[in-house]
Symmetry: C2
Subunit: 341 residues, 2 copies
């Protein structure tokens, strides 16, 4: 079947682009001398996680225990502050897999323990989300880690502006020095993300990175010049359903297909593929996409859209078709979709 | 089980509030002399659609055929421009239920036909999304309706500003007059939405309204003073997972729990229930909610949040717990979640 014949809206992944993206990030990580521990929240699909592992990933990163429960990988980092309520499931996970957890408070460091559960102290490198604020705090948290299960640190993100980036490097160095002085050798320094991956070699002592988006890329990656259009492995096939309003058409995909996340820096909601005269996805309702057009559009016309934020888009769908050269060869179930716990 | 003991993040519906909301909108519709045809995209739950029908709703409204396929109601309006690709499923639906479809182009009006399929001509009353632009266009579309299946018109929304509202009323009148002059008697004039429901009696010749959000209400309804906090039937239980950054805490619910939709007019992402000192949900990442706080917060503390846009929130979850007075009595499957086709 031709992907263009899919009923719309439909998500389609080009396997050639996907395999290229996986191979390239793996190759780059090797060149940078770091392990690759992809964040699988982007795709939530066991088959893709397996492709990443087969290509050489050292394990997977998840945000929620529920993701790890349905995705493969012998070595799992839950890069999220986990509380006691999740401990029974985490311990169950640790029976068959090596499990690491990020901690950013003394209380949680004390609580999170069990056979096979290791901890990384999270460091705030400037975004102000989670993570120890100072080297002293990092040491306190490491000291609270139960059962001597401290293994290192993790930080996010690595895409700060130049001044922020320099400050982050200084902070990471200071934290590692303070930890070493207190007797805590960080064997793992986990960082990275797709936008900041290229900066990895510049960050002191990083041992592994956790990019997610790179498997598919998206319109935000494109706007940030992290990739070219051909690298955007996941596209949404949509149909023009109305041309009633002059200068506009409406496609059958809105925020329940794409999510409401905008293309970072572009103020749009997606990128139309291969158009001579650009179409602009200016606004979304739940099932309507408002497109500014400068030229004709026809009701029934099908158009491919690269979503703004692919992680959010994938999480709205149960199934994604895949194939090569525009053919549909099969479909994956988005097994970890909706696993917010 | 106490709802407060649910593992987080978790969605919980208070049945007392839900029943009150359903009864009140039904009662008001009766007082206004219009039928109530709730838009079920808000909840996507068969049991709640049945409650609305049992209370007196004349049928249901959906945006996609896939929603109608799993939700009850003998009389279904697909308030969406449907193309030929969806016709086989629509015809299947029409075998057992009365089906109406919105059309806003001559081509589609010609295409959409079949035993038991009726059409409403959609009118753009000022928002510029879909719908005929002029009375002349509306007549052309009505003339193209196959098999004499024209039944009336539909419009959206009814929450325009004062000048826009007056213009919309004039337009609806003009369209109905033009249709009547061309021999098309509109027996159905379908309008309304939750924010504009109260204006229903002011709009000429409306026979039915299609509000959706009123079953649960949300933080946007609250900000618009459409309801009070006690009417917000759906709440999200979350847990504080980090207090590392001063003046802030992070809850375990982000855009994959709430969606990225902001509270209309408020620039926040949800409303914290019953707090003396207000907390402000200022920013979301996928699994992190950034909360501005002016006072203490404790890691492990559980807090209830009314989401900004409840339709988008519900669509991210497979299951919703329900009960009364804070007890969990059961859970519903969100049967039409993700049904974008």
């Amino acid at each position: 079947m031709d992907a263009f014949d899919l009923d719309t809206p439909a998500l389609y992944v080009d396997l050639d682009a996907l395999e290229r993206n996986i191979a390239r990030m793996q190759q780059q990580s090797r060149a940078w001398g770091v392990g690759l521990r992809p964040h699988v929240k982007t795709h939530k699909i066991p088959e893709i996680a397996q492709m990443q592992l087969d290509a050489g990933a050292i394990g997977i990163t998840v945000a929620k225990v529920g993701e790890a429960e349905v995705l493969p990988g012998d070595d799992v980092l839950v890069a999220y502050p986990l509380l006691q309520a999740k401990l029974p499931r985490l311990r169950e996970l640790a029976k068959t897999r090596r499990v690491k957890v990020a901690v950013d408070s003394v209380d949680v460091a004390r609580d999170v323990h069990g056979e096979g559960i290791e901890t990384l102290v999270e460091i705030d490198v400037g975004v102000g989300r989670t993570g120890a604020q100072s080297p002293e705090q990092a040491v306190e948290i490491a000291q609270a880690c139960s059962d001597g299960n401290f293994r290192g640190i993790c930080y996010w993100p690595s895409w700060l502006d130049e001044a922020g980036f320099q400050a982050a490097c200084v902070k990471i160095d200071a934290v590692l020095d303070a930890l070493a002085a207190a007797g805590f050798e960080a064997t793992i320094v986990s960082g990275g993300s797709t936008p900041g991956a290229a900066k990895t070699p510049l960050i002191p002592r990083t041992t592994e990175i956790r990019p997610g988006t790179y498997v598919f890329y998206d319109a935000s990656s494109l706007a940030a010049k992290l990739c070219v259009e051909a690298d955007c492995a996941l596209r949404v096939l949509t149909t023009v359903v109305s041309t009633a309003v002059p200068g506009q058409c409406v496609i059958d995909a809105g925020s329940k297909t794409f999510s409401s996340d905008q293309t970072v820096g572009a103020g749009t909601f997606g990128h139309f593929v291969g158009r001579e005269r650009p179409w602009t996805l200016r606004k979304l309702n739940e099932e309507h996409g408002y497109v500014e057009i400068d030229g004709p559009a026809r009701v029934g016309e099908k158009v491919w859209v690269v979503p703004s934020h692919v992680c959010a888009t994938v999480n709205l769908h149960d199934e994604i078709s895949y194939g090569r050269r525009g053919r549909v060869e099969g479909s994956w179930k988005v097994a970890a979709r909706g696993r917010v716990r």
